[in-house]
């Protein structure tokens, strides 16, 4: 199990398009990956789940992964979120 925290930086937050990018990125890893806010924890490979986080700019997220590529998965997602979804992760 590997986890990291990251703050949402893009404006206005992880709405439709960033959510899709996050899910696509997460889906490239075999590990189980979860993203959590204070209120909710969801599967990072589920678009519905990620949208339901309703994570706005400034929200603190915890990303947890369990599996063979857990560390790489968490790091890729952190990089993506820190780069405001503007990089190819």
């Amino acid at each position: 199990m590997y986890e990291a925290r990251v703050e949402v930086r893009n404006d206005p937050g992880i709405h439709a398009r960033p959510a899709a990018i996050l899910v696509q990125t997460a889906s490239r890893f075999s590990s189980e990956i979860h993203v959590a806010t204070e209120a909710l924890e969801v599967n990072a490979k589920s678009i519905m789940g990620v949208m339901m986080l309703a994570a706005e700019t400034g929200t603190l997220l915890t990303i947890r992964a369990q599996g063979s590529d857990e560390r790489a998965a968490v790091e890729a997602l952190v990089r993506l979120i820190e780069a405001r979804f503007e990089i190819e992760a």
Partner: protein
């Protein structure tokens, strides 16, 4: 052919969501409210229900894939992005597993489970405080309708099926439908619901389809195939127009085309009248992303950056860095040209949920504007810090909303000094001084404008509120809306006094309300001595182009004459007379009110 059925002319007013004029037969899209009965199935049927669900999923996905291919707009297109997101929802394993499990465990009909699961998600999104996330509910409902249509074998009525040239009338347009919008098929859109940030607004604008939204129950009065006139700029829909409406429409359409030719290229020119009177054209913006379109439209600065959007979309107060980034974006885009940032103009019941404002019987006379800022110094300071930091990146000025007494200005100035002082102590660079101005929008600010002028760097006249407060007229109240008129001599006198007091203290006066972009109000503002007009980016080229064809000096005499008028009728009369030598300015009475429009003559040459 439209049916020849005699219906009554109806004039409906909604929100202008996407500008443009259109005429066409109404096509009413009925949103299919399918009834899905709760039905349990036998153990043997469970497998078949699950297969039925999977088939519907596959078909729905294929349908979207085909739509995307047919439209062929590429992944950068916002319509394609909507469809892509629906495809992803249909591929969501977690969601699919949830539905399959429910079918198995509860031995329930697939259609019923789909509806229950997706509508529960939609309700969840609707409950979110942020409008961005709330609007996802419409996507979920859209996906739900599509899945159900495959499960139940019914095809939905779609925008893509209306005959070319139709005015599409709907309760609301599902997001995936907006992707199929194109000007050739859909002449205009008219909806019962919708907001200025919903998919339909964004798509209608990007495709150039005129749209009027939020008409409410009134859309139900529109008969199928009846002719509609749609004015997407003024938010007007005329059902069963009469001869005079149609003539008016044709004339405006023709003159709009001439206006478009005349103003093409004016973006690069300065705001200047035919006789050299300089009138700066500035833009009102609401979001940082409005800055570059405003610049492209030829705005010479930002006359009003409303900062309320942060608060409309947010679940909590926007942090300093997010605010600073937004302000900097605008300041940088305008590289050294003035950018006037208005501190939060909050208050009223609109923000009650977010900010914990108690209900007020009279919100317009309550804790709003600068009063709200001063009552919440912890929020005000954060905003001031963000503005001051952004001021390092450009020519940023601070505008205080709804100031009604000197003490408020002084208190706000103290907070500004304190914010700057804190930042300096923290080692953050801030400019040595930032210009501070006040909105003139209350009668008390007008009456005290000589005193205020000595302590500020500029004035900005907020005509909308100034008219409302000066005339004691709520223009949202239909029974008295007629009394709301920028040309009321009381309003003109208030502006005149403000401008004279500003001139005595040698500070500039801008005007940023609707009056600054409307004929003939903007001409009277210039006549009264206002030299900066701040208007919606869309209007910048138009107002600039018009002013370049009119002499400014003549407007002074006209404004003086209007100040002496007894009531608004007399003002209108004097304006019509005074401007009669400019045949491009067309006056006519519509629905009991005078209106003035710019109608350049056919074949009229370029400027000068």
């Amino acid at each position: 052919m439209p049916k020849k059925r005699k219906s009554k002319r109806i004039r409906l007013v909604g929100m202008g969501a996407s500008p443009g004029l259109a005429q066409g037969p109404a096509r009413i899209l009925v949103s299919r409210q399918q009834h899905v009965p709760r039905r349990t199935v036998s153990l043997q049927e469970v497998g078949a229900e699950i297969r039925r669900f999977r088939t519907a999923l596959r078909r729905a996905r294929a349908e979207i894939r085909e739509m995307r291919e047919r439209l062929g707009r590429g992944v950068e297109d916002p319509g394609d992005q909507i469809l892509a997101s629906h495809q992803m929802i249909l591929q969501d394993r977690e969601l699919n597993r949830e539905i399959v499990l429910a079918i198995k465990r509860e031995r329930m009909d697939a259609a019923y489970v789909v509806r229950r699961a997706l509508l529960a998600k939609a309700r969840y999104f609707e409950s979110l405080p942020s409008e961005f996330f709330r609007s996802r509910a419409a996507d979920i409902e859209d996906v739900e309708r599509r899945l159900l249509s495959h499960l139940l074998g019914t095809g939905p009525a779609t925008v893509a099926q209306v005959p070319a040239g139709s005015v599409v009338v709907a309760s609301e347009i599902p997001p995936s439908e907006t992707a199929a919008l194109d000007r050739e098929r859909v002449a205009a859109l008219v909806t019962e619901h919708g907001t200025l940030t919903s998919h339909v607004t964004i798509m209608a604008r990007s495709r150039g389809v005129p749209a009027v939204i939020g008409l409410g129950e009134a859309v139900k009065e529109i008969p199928e195939e009846e002719t509609l006139l749609v004015d997407g700029e003024r938010g007007l829909v005329i059902v069963a127009p009469n001869e005079s409406d149609l003539r008016h429409y044709r004339e405006r359409e023709a003159s709009e085309a001439r206006v478009a030719t005349l103003i093409a290229g004016s973006e690069q020119l300065p705001g200047e009248m035919r006789d050299g009177v300089r009138v700066e054209l500035l833009a009102n913006v609401e979001r940082p992303e409005d800055a570059s379109p405003a610049l492209a439209a030829g705005a010479e600065g930002i006359g009003l950056f409303r900062t309320e959007f942060f608060f409309m979309d947010a679940t909590r107060f926007p942090p300093e860095d997010a605010q600073r980034a937004a302000y900097e974006e605008v300041a940088r885009a305008f590289a050294g040209r003035p950018v006037v940032i208005r501190t939060m103009d909050l208050g009223g019941d609109k923000y009650a949920a977010l900010m914990g404002v108690p209900h007020e019987a009279n919100p317009f006379l309550g804790l709003r504007g600068i009063r709200f800022c001063l009552a919440h110094p912890e929020l005000f300071l954060v905003q001031l810090r963000a503005i001051l930091r952004a001021a390092q990146q450009g020519n940023v000025r601070i505008l205080l909303p709804m100031v009604s007494q000197l003490g408020e200005l002084r208190a706000a100035r103290d907070w500004i000094d304190q914010a700057a002082e804190h930042l300096r102590r923290e080692g953050v660079a801030v400019p040595t001084s930032v210009a501070v101005g006040v909105m003139i929008e209350t009668p008390s600010a007008v009456l005290m404008s000589d005193v205020l002028a000595r302590e500020v760097d500029f004035f900005s006249i907020g005509s909308n509120d100034l008219i409302q407060y000066s005339l004691a007229v709520d223009r949202g109240n239909e029974r008295i809306a007629e009394l709301y008129d920028a040309l009321d001599p009381a309003v003109l006198r208030a502006i005149d006094l403000t401008v004279r007091n500003a001139q005595a203290s040698e500070i500039p006066v801008a005007s940023c309300g609707e009056m600054s972009g409307e004929l003939p109000g903007l001409l009277l503002l210039i006549g009264l001595g206002v030299r900066q007009l701040s208007v919606a980016p869309l209007l910048v080229p138009r107002v600039k182009g018009l002013l370049r064809r009119l002499p400014g000096a003549r407007l002074t005499d006209l404004a003086q004459a209007c100040l002496q008028a007894g009531d608004r009728r007399e003002v209108w009369e004097r304006v019509r007379q005074g401007l009669s030598e400019f045949p491009e300015l067309h006056f006519e009475q519509r629905d009991g009110r005078w209106i003035c429009q710019w109608r350049p003559p056919a074949g009229g040459g370029g400027e000068r």
